[in-house]
């Protein structure tokens, strides 16, 4: 569950929390594009470091570290697969360049996790829904999205209760081999899915009984407006993208191994 913890919003106020979610999302996209553009480690390190000031400004270091720790398993996996594949394709030798590429691929993943986690940690579900709506996403979809986000902690709690109930009936989740352990989760997953479906039906009824969707044109109490900070972040986004594309096209990016060994 630690990965989800790293994505869970907590109500605090900071310059970063107050930024317009749309601009923050553009930032995530800019980092995403930049990370995809480069397979070399140096620019990826730069991208990784770039998000850290945001984390510090928002004061979400603890949660951010937790989400990185949650991603550690998958990151290790990516690193090993990359190492293994380059090891077999380059004739059973392990070169410094290969290790560096593997590290770069892993870092690319970490950068993506990092930027998404900063986004979700500093953006409330309500804000997010508002942003979606004002970006002309149909209200039904915006609502479905925010509801899904809001129910994640509820489901996590429910999963815990179900595990307790099954343990009380003698289920030992950690017993047996790999396949047995996966099978052990069936008594947890089925009640979880069934009650999620049941809950969604109940929610639908409750919403309809309160005239959900009665008017086609909805108005909002709060409207998102771009402020000075938002324009600043927007400028940073454009700059990041411009620099990334320029460097990609016209500047040869050196690899670490070439810088130090040649």
């Amino acid at each position: 569950m630690s990965v989800f913890d790293g994505l869970r919003f907590r109500k605090v106020y900071s310059p970063i929390h107050n930024l317009d979610p749309r601009v923050k999302f553009i930032y995530v996209c800019a980092v995403f594009v930049a990370a995809i553009l480069f397979g070399e480690i140096l620019p990826l390190i730069a991208l990784f470091l770039m998000s850290i000031p945001f984390v510090l400004l928002a004061g979400v270091q603890k949660e951010w570290l937790r989400s990185l720790r949650g991603a550690a398993f998958l990151a290790t996996f990516i690193f090993l697969v990359n190492i293994a594949s380059s090891f077999f394709t380059s004739g059973y030798v392990l070169t410094a360049a290969n290790v560096e590429t593997a590290a770069a691929m892993t870092l690319r993943f970490v950068v993506l996790v990092e930027s998404f986690s900063v986004f979700f940690l500093t953006t409330s579900p309500d804000h997010l829904g508002l942003a979606l709506e004002q970006s002309r996403v149909p209200y039904e979809f915006a609502f479905a999205f925010t509801t899904a986000v809001r129910f994640v902690p509820v489901l996590a709690e429910e999963a815990q209760t179900i595990m307790d109930a099954q343990k009380a009936r003698g289920l030992e989740l950690e017993k047996g081999g790999f396949l047995k352990r996966i099978r052990n989760y069936i008594p947890v997953l089925i009640p979880l899915i069934v009650s999620a479906i049941r809950r969604s039906l109940e929610l639908a009824e409750a919403m309809e009984s309160r005239a959900w969707g009665a008017t086609k044109k909805r108005t909002n109490l709060y409207a998102l407006k771009l402020l000075r900070g938002d324009f600043a972040l927007l400028a940073i986004n454009v700059a990041v993208l411009a620099v990334a594309i320029y460097v990609r096209l016209y500047v040869p990016v050196p690899t670490l191994s070439k810088l130090f060994w040649v």
Binding site: E158, T161, I162, D164, A165, Q166, K167, A168, R169, G170, L171, E172, I186, P187, I190, P191, V194, S195, R198
Partner: protein, 274 residues
């Protein structure tokens, strides 16, 4: 036997649910844990089969500390029926649902077969043996959950809110069933808000408030004490309310069940006639 020595429990989100609880529940006792929402009732009983381990203090079940054994091992002797049956039902048939725990505890095929039939008959579910538990009504699902725990015949039975969603007849059956369990020397612990149900059963009552036990004693004493009950925002049972108001007429104060009330009223009427 359940021994609890000055336990404290704090949830990971820093909510302190228990703040120093001590008690002993002997074999064969019938205990009702009462108190307002968030008083720590469910947190307390979850310590009785090791689902929760105290952050401070000791819980011993039959002399064994819960921290030194597994939930599965403790559950063999302590059955726990959760409040919401939907948190545990997952099988294709009611029969398979009941067999689940029996298989986990390593019972043999023939024994499992017998136990299933026994549990289904006990709770009036025999006709649903091959039905999917998801097609049953709320009250029936609740009874399937109870049957699935009863089937392995644990010494102690913990029921979290057993009367919710049950009609009067089912409640009465539940009461008779608890009486029957007691006759067999079983320990029964229920967590409940249902004052009338507790009044009918008159068990030992543990009254909780904000993570501590504020009163522990005979149901008759506690449920007729308005000052103590007010602390936990519990209202007196209706019969106790009537008798409380009629004490000037010479009726006793501590009456909580219908039979006793009838006797007391008759006695007073007799006296009046003479």
């Amino acid at each position: 036997m359940i021994e609890v020595e000055d336990i404290h429990f704090t949830y990971p989100n820093n909510v302190e649910a228990l703040r120093g609880v001590s008690l002993v529940i002997k074999n064969g006792e019938f205990v009702a844990v009462m108190g307002q929402n968030g008083a720590g009732k469910t947190t307390l009983v979850k310590h009785f089969n090791g689902l929760l381990r105290p952050t401070k203090g000791i819980v011993r079940i039959d002399g064994v500390e819960t921290t030194k054994t597994s939930v599965a091992a403790l559950s063999r002797n302590t059955g726990f029926v959760f409040q919401n049956p939907d948190h545990q039902l997952f099988s294709e048939t009611v029969e398979a649902e009941i067999a689940f725990a029996l298989k986990n505890f390593g019972f043999e095929e023939e024994v499992i077969e017998k136990r299933i039939t026994w549990a289904l008959n006990l709770l009036g579910l025999a006709q649903y043996k091959k039905t999917s538990p998801f097609l049953l009504s709320g009250g029936e699902r609740k009874r399937v959950a109870l049957a699935s725990v009863l089937a392995w015949n644990p010494q102690t039975l913990i029921l979290d809110e057993p009367t919710i969603g049950q009609d009067y007849q089912q409640k009465e059956k539940l009461r008779q069933f608890i009486v029957q369990m007691q006759a067999q020397g079983k320990t029964v612990v229920i967590v409940t808000h249902d004052v009338e149900f507790v009044a009918e059963c008159s068990p030992r009552v543990l009254l909780m408030k904000e993570g501590i036990i504020v009163a522990d004693g005979e149901g008759r004493e506690i449920l007729t004490n308005p000052e103590v009950l007010a602390q936990s925002s519990i209202v007196l049972p209706q019969i106790a309310q009537i008798f409380m108001k009629l004490t000037p007429l010479g009726l006793p104060k501590n009456v909580i069940d219908v039979y006793e009330a009838k006797e007391a009223v008759l006695e007073m009427l007799e006296k009046g006639r003479k």
